[in-house]
């Protein structure tokens, strides 16, 4: 058996070294090549999984701390496979298409590869300590991404991001140390803990779940701990935003799925979690309607979508879980495409306020139409991947919470309405056309194409992923 996961991580590390060795001009190409190899390997994993009908990837490498029996052990569940695929595609597009200004490409490419390394390691990690380590590497990579490559007010946004995320990571660390000491055989191994966590007393389970829940809530982000996200997006570069919403928020989503799987007592709180998710979705949707910066608008759609995913996770039935996974996959593609488009709009018009930017469709048709499809793909229009995810989430929600479970869906309606208003006001308003400052290159268009391809691929052929779930 080929150790795909190990090769993916190794290729990314080689990529970082390669990027740092070559000069500024070639760094983007080198980064794209190694990231592309990783993406192809991720799809090789998918293909071999489909051929054999099951996911049987478990790899074990060097020991980290032998006392705790922690080694670099990687494994794939259906959930992590979906997220690894998504992360590798998003990172690949980010590294070659996300920087039309060609600003500090060497730093950017190295940090993107480092972040991709962390993301794939996190989604594929077989034990909690490794999960934590990759989490922190990812957070640091994005912190530097925001701070080194962001816009004018990046200082405040970056420190806000770092403080929120490190708070989450320390809560996570504390929780996993508690898990370790309260499981009967003292282990960080995820499979072992899932099998044996029932033996913990219910108060311990509640305590651990509380820590994990807050940590992942910060990261997802869900009301009331979402405040870092809009600021981080406004100040981050296009590449930073793509990774931030596309991949980093999925750390929290994946963690939340993991938390419910690890802690049986968490089921007692599922209704509260779903209520919080539902409230957060409406809250973010209403705040969204007061935003004018296109990037900020898109940032709030992330909060809405992640809140709905939280509802799906809290249903605790196969539909909800598969739906949350699929929605995360779909959201990753869609949101990074929207941020790529927003970045292109900022590049073309040197402005991102939709009241000022008029007639995108006339200046760059590709950008305009991609924006439109991106809006379809976030609001869950049929044929896009998000549709499948949302349908599954709300099927699960109806099962778990009866008809009341569908209520959060209305928030998507609000988001859709406002986004179409934005489209109408700015992208398709051709009566007056803003002055074009710059043109986008073919790499941006190729980036759109790749993300569009995957949005429709998984929208039309959802069984590629859903085969691995028992629905």
């Amino acid at each position: 058996m080929i150790p795909y996961l190990g090769i993916m991580l190794a290729s990314l590390l080689l990529g970082i070294i390669g990027v740092l060795l070559v000069n500024e001009r070639h760094s983007r190409v080198v980064g794209s090549v190694f990231s592309g190899i990783t993406m192809l390997l991720a799809f090789a994993v998918l293909v071999s999984g489909i051929q054999s009908g099951s996911l049987n990837f478990s790899e074990n490498y060097i020991y980290y701390i032998s006392q705790f029996n922690v080694s670099l052990n990687l494994q794939l569940t259906p959930i992590s496979l979906a997220l690894v695929l998504m992360a590798s595609v998003v990172a690949f597009v980010t590294v070659f298409a996300g920087n039309p200004e060609h600003e500090r490409e060497k730093t950017a490419s190295a940090l993107i590869l480092l972040f991709e390394f962390a993301a794939i390691g996190l989604f594929a990690s077989g034990n909690l300590l490794l999960f934590f380590i990759f989490w922190d590497i990812g957070v640091l990579a994005l912190f530097f991404m925001i701070y080194l490559l962001g816009s004018a007010n990046r200082r405040r946004a970056a420190i806000k991001f770092l403080i929120y995320e490190l708070l989450a990571s320390l809560l996570l660390l504390f929780a996993i140390m508690l898990v370790y000491f309260y499981t009967p055989m003292h282990s960080f191994d995820i499979n072992y803990i899932i099998a044996n966590s029932v033996t913990m007393s219910s108060s311990t389970q509640t305590l651990i779940f509380a820590f994990l829940f807050v940590a992942f809530l910060i990261n997802m982000p869900v009301f009331p701990l979402h405040l870092w996200l809009p600021d981080a997006h406004t100040e981050a570069s296009t590449q930073g935003s793509m990774l931030l919403s596309g991949v980093l928020t999925k750390f929290g989503g994946y963690g939340m799925l993991l938390a419910f799987a690890l802690i049986p007592a968490a089921a007692n709180f599922s209704l509260f979690v779903a209520l919080l998710g539902g409230f957060s979705a409406f809250y973010a949707a209403f705040v969204l309607m007061t935003q004018h910066d296109i990037k900020r608008v898109i940032a709030y759609t992330t909060i809405v979508e992640m809140s709905i995913i939280l509802v799906g996770i809290a249903t605790l039935n196969p539909f909800g879980t598969a739906g949350a996974t699929f929605a995360m996959l779909a959201h990753g593609f869609a949101i990074s495409m929207l941020f790529l488009v927003a970045g292109s709009i900022g590049h073309i018009f040197a402005d991102r306020d939709f009241r000022a930017v008029k007639g995108v469709i006339a200046s760059s048709a590709a950008t305009g139409y991609t924006f439109l499809i991106g809006v379809f793909a976030t609001t869950g229009v049929p044929l896009t991947a998000a549709f499948i995810g949302d349908v599954l989430i709300f099927l699960g929600a109806i099962r778990a919470f009866s008809a009341m479970g569908v209520i959060p869906l209305l928030s998507l309606g609000i988001v859709g309405a406002y986004l179409y208003y934005v489209m109408n006001k700015s992208v398709f308003s051709t009566r007056e056309v803003s002055k074009t400052i710059e043109y986008i290159g073919s790499s941006q268009k190729l980036g759109y194409a790749i993300l569009l391809f995957f949005i429709f691929l998984f929208g039309l052929l959802p069984f590629l992923i859903l085969n691995f779930f028992n629905l």
Partner: protein, 464 residues
């Protein structure tokens, strides 16, 4: 072979001091640097062999040769090498500095290998007094901090000798390890007083609150390489002495000192981290950060388990390299008159290597993977959770979180503005920083060899 280790170490130490004294006359400084580095390297290799052989014996009647003592001989000789390089470049009077360093190093190695309380007392004296003079060597402006260090060291030493005197009636041999076998020891309040005096005296050098108020002034006032010596080695020596006294002599009183140290650790962490938040001078910031780190190290002793000691030893070793590396960069920048956080603006574009290294050191000091600082903190936190001290662990985690802010301030300032006038560091700074960086990163990714060594050392020192 084991008995020879003692002779080799004693011989190398003697040669080290003798050549250092000679250097004051012949003034061949480059030769002296090479000779002293070679002798410290010999010490390090011997110590490494001692750790690998894993046996324990007593050499020359006064030196304990076991994995614990050898691990610290290794650590001290390596860190002395690094400080030596820094001083060579930046000291006004390198020959005199080296002579004082020779005396101080005898104190350090004596404590690492001590087998009696008297050795510890003499060692602390021999270490701190020359350090005060090292500061004074550099001119009038340093006298103030030298005097501060000298007076407080004198108080600490007198307290320590009083503590030793209180133990004397119970065990006239004053040997380490003997009181543990004395059944009449518990419930004797004189001994509890002795215990508290030991903790007080050693807390001066280990920089535990409230005995650490001299630290910020002296660290900031002293030349950078002496600060590196103080934070990287002297403090660690005090912790070694603390291990020896608490675990060997005072082990029956574990209940008392565990709770006392718990209080000290909490206060030290909060004091260091909170005051560091408002510092503007980077050197002072590192002084407070190193106070906070002393609090973390104490967590391992609080749990009074072999595993906790192992965690403390790991963190001591790692912190030694982190802080020497950091102070090396601070020292170099200070010589260019770059002191405050705002002065650090744009360092990332002026000298990418130094900025990167300082960033890694700070990430490691916060305790973020994949650096050795994370492994150390992880071991420490698990050691306290292991004995059920959840509240203490939460406090430590909160402190880690507080520390994010001030380290991030410096990191962000370094990468803030583009300032293209490049600055080149001298070869000795680069070499020292590179070594420290390698330790922090390599043991962050492959911590197992170092953990095994720390584990062997903890087994050697821990009774039962």
């Amino acid at each position: 072979m084991i008995p020879y280790i003692g002779y080799i170490i004693a011989g190398a130490l003697f040669l080290f001091v003798a050549t250092d004294i000679l250097a004051v006359w012949h003034k061949k400084l480059k030769l002296q640097l090479i000779v002293s580095t070679a002798l410290l390297g010999l010490l390090a290799l011997t110590a490494l062999y001692g750790i690998m052989s894993g046996q324990s014996s007593v050499a020359l009647g006064i030196f304990n040769i076991n994995p614990f003592s050898m691990l610290f001989v290794l650590l001290f000789s390596l860190s002395l090498m690094l400080v030596n390089f820094l001083a060579y470049e930046y000291s006004n009077d390198y020959a005199a500095f080296l002579m004082l360093l020779g005396f101080a190093s005898i104190g350090m190695f004596a404590i690492a290998m001590a087998n009696s309380l008297v050795t510890i007392l003499l060692g602390i004296e021999l270490m701190t007094v020359p350090t005060a003079f090292m500061i004074m060597l550099n001119g009038k402006q340093f006298v103030e901090s030298a005097i501060k260090l000298f007076i407080l060291a004198a108080i600490a030493i007198s307290v320590l000798s009083f503590a030793v005197a209180l133990v004397f009636p119970y065990d006239p041999s004053l040997a380490l390890a003997s009181l543990a076998t004395n059944p009449g020891i518990s419930g004797t309040y004189i001994l509890v007083l002795a215990l508290l005096l030991f903790i007080t005296a050693l807390s001066f050098d280990a920089s535990l609150f409230p005995f650490n108020l001299w630290i910020p002034d002296v660290y900031t006032g002293a030349p950078g390489y002496v600060t590196a010596l103080l934070a990287g080695i002297n403090k660690k020596v005090a912790f070694v002495a603390l291990f020896e006294v608490l675990l060997l002599v005072m082990f029956p009183l574990a209940g008392y000192y565990s709770s006392a140290l718990q209080a000290l650790a909490i206060m030290t962490m909060f004091f260091g981290n909170i005051v560091a938040l408002v510092q503007n001078n980077v050197k002072r910031l590192f002084a407070y950060s190193s106070i906070a780190q002393a609090g973390y190290i104490t967590l391992g002793i609080v749990s009074v388990t072999q595993y906790g000691i192992e965690a403390s030893i790991f963190q001591i070793i790692v912190h030694s390299f982190m802080i020497i590396g950091s102070f090396a960069i601070v020292l170099w920048l200070e010589s260019k008159n770059i002191r405050t956080i705002t002065d650090y603006n744009g360092l990332g574009s002026r000298n990418a290597f130094a900025a990167f290294a300082l960033t890694i050191f700070m990430i490691s000091l916060i305790g973020i993977p994949p650096t050795a600082g994370f492994v150390g903190k992880f071991l420490l936190f698990t050691s306290t959770i292991n004995v059920g001290l959840l509240a203490l662990t939460i406090i430590a985690v909160i402190n880690s979180f507080i520390s994010v802010y001030y380290y991030a301030k410096v990191i962000m300032s370094m990468y803030a503005k583009k300032d293209r006038s490049a600055m080149k560091a001298t070869w000795s700074i680069n070499a020292v920083v590179l070594v420290c960086l390698a330790v922090v990163i390599v043991f962050g990714i492959f911590p197992q060899p170092l953990i095994s060594m720390a584990s062997a050392a903890a087994t050697a020192i821990f009774p039962i």
